[in-house]
Amino acid sequence: MPELVASEALSAAGLTKRFGGLAAVENMSFGLAEKEVLGLIGPNGSGKTTVMNLISGALKPSSGEIKLYGDNITGIGPSQVATKGVARTFQLVRMLPAMTVLENVAAGGVFGHARRWGKELEDYAQGLLARVGLANAGGAVVSALTYIDQKRVELARALASDPKVLLLDEWLAGLNPTELNVGIALIEQLRSEGCTIIIVEHVMHAIRSLCDRCIVMSSGVKIAEGTPAEVLADHGVIRAYLGDENA
C-alpha cells in the first residue's frame, strides 16, 4: 500500500520479544496510519501488553524494529520514546498519589513531547481535565476519585504531551456498564479529533465501534488483521478465543 507509507505514523517490522525460552511476541509486523485507531485484541497472555511495552520502550525487543514517522525508536528507552511523541496509559491505572489531580495531568506535559511550564502548563492541564469531564476536580487528591475518574486523569495525563501516537492498554477494563459508555464516548471523541491510537481491549463492542482496523494476536503471533467485522468472523480467531479442545 504505497499510499499509506507517506502518512504512516508507526510501523513495526519483525518485532520479537523473548523472555528466556518463551517468545511473548514473535515476528510481529504492522503499520499504523495517521489518525487511525488500531485495535490489538486476543486472548489473555497472547502478548498484547508486551507489544504495548515494546512500543512505549518499557521493554527492549529481542529483535525487530519500530519506527515513529520513519524515525527509528527501537530500544531507545521509555523516556526517550515519550519525548518522541508516544504516550500511554497503563493496564492497572497508575496515579501519583501524593499529588493533586491537576498535577497528575500536568506531569505528562512538562518533560515529554510537549514541554509546557508555569501558567501555560496549568491552563493546558485544566483544559484537558475539562475535556475528560473533570473540570472541577483539579485541586482534589487522587485517592478521592472513583476508578473511572482516575482513568480519566490518566488519559488526560497521556494527552498532556500532545502525543503523535496514543497507546491505551485496556483503558476500558474494570468499568461498569454506565462508565463503559462514558469511556467509549470519550475515546470516540478523541478519534473524531484525529488522534492516532492503538487500543488493547477485551470489550468487543468497544472494538467494533472504535477501531478502523484490528490485529488479532494469539500466543505471541499475529493470526488475523482487518476490519473488526472481518477479524471477529474469522475462524482462526474464534478458535483462538474459544478453543477447540475445550469445546
Binding site: 512505549s56 521509555p78 523516556s79 501524593a98 518533560f111 501558567k119 485541586g139 495525563r157
Partner: protein, 330 residues
Amino acid sequence: MSIAEAAPVVRGGPAISAREWRMLLVSVLILLAAACVPLVVGGYALQVSISIVMYAAFATSWLLFSGPTNYIALCTAAFFGIGMYVTAAGVDLVPYPVLILASGVAGAILAAIVGLATLRVSGIYFVIFSLGLAELVRQCMTWGQHVFGTMSGLYVTVDRSEPMYYWQLLALTAVIFLVGWWIGRSRLGFALRIIGNDEVVAVHCGINTARAKVVLFIISSTFASIIGALVAPRWGYVEPVVAFNPFLSFQVVIMALLGGTHRLWGPLLGVIPFTLLWELISIEFPDQTTLLLGLCFLLIVYAIPNGFTGLIEDVWQRRKGGVAPGARNA
C-alpha cells in the same frame, strides 16, 4: 513516608505568589534572629547552638535528595569526611576559602561517580550501597593515611572563633534553604516529585529519571562536603574513624524523619529537639548511645511516621475540617 506537597496548583513559573513572599519574609526574620544567638550566649550554649545549625544544614541537604525521591541515603558521613579530608590535606597549601570550594567540588565528583553507578538501581539496593560507601571511603582513607602519611590523622589549623563557626554554618543553611526552595519551584523539583510518587509513570512522562536523581544527589552531597570543610578546623585533628563515622549518617536521617520529610523546613523541627536530647544522652548515658539511637529510630518510625510536620498538618486539617487526616498519604 511520602511527599505531599499538595498545593492546589502546579507551582513554578516566574511569578512568586504573595504567600511565598510572606514565607520568605518570615524566613529572613528567623535567620536574622538566629544570627544574633552568638551575641547573646556563649560557652556551652553556643557549642550546642553550633551543633544545631550544623545538623540543620546536614538534615536539610539530606532532604533535598531523599525527601522527594524517597531514597534513604545513609552516606552523609562519606561526603562529610571527604570535605574534612580535603580541607585537612590542603590547609597548609592554599587559602581556606579555596578549600571550602574544593571540598564541595570533591564531594560533587564523588557523588557523580556514585550516583551514576547506583541510582539506576532503586530502593533497598541504594540504601545498602550508600551505607557501604562511607565505610569504603573510610577504609581507603585509612589505607592512604597509612601508606602516605606519618600518623593516623591530619592536623587542621585555621584560626576561627566559635561565633564564626556558627555564622558560617548558618549562612550555609540559608543557602541550602534557598537552593531547596528554588528546586521546589523548578522542573527538576516537579520531576523528582513524580519520581518519588511512581517511577514508572515518571519515565513514561519523558523524565530522564537517572539524570534527575544524579543531579539532586550531587547537589545534596556537595553541601555535606562543604559542612565537612567548615567544621574541620573546629575539630583540629582529623582521622578516618571520626571523619567517616556512620553514626552521623543515621543521626541525620533520624532528625529529618523526626521533623518530617515532606516540607523543606521539616528537618528543622527535628534537629532542634533531637540535638538537645542527644546532648543529654551523651552526658547521662555515654556508653549506651548506639542503643538509644536505635530506640529513637524505632520510636519515631512507629509513633510519628510523618514527623512533626505531619502531626501539625493533621491537626491543622482537622481544625479546618478539610481533608480527612491521613488522606494525604493514602
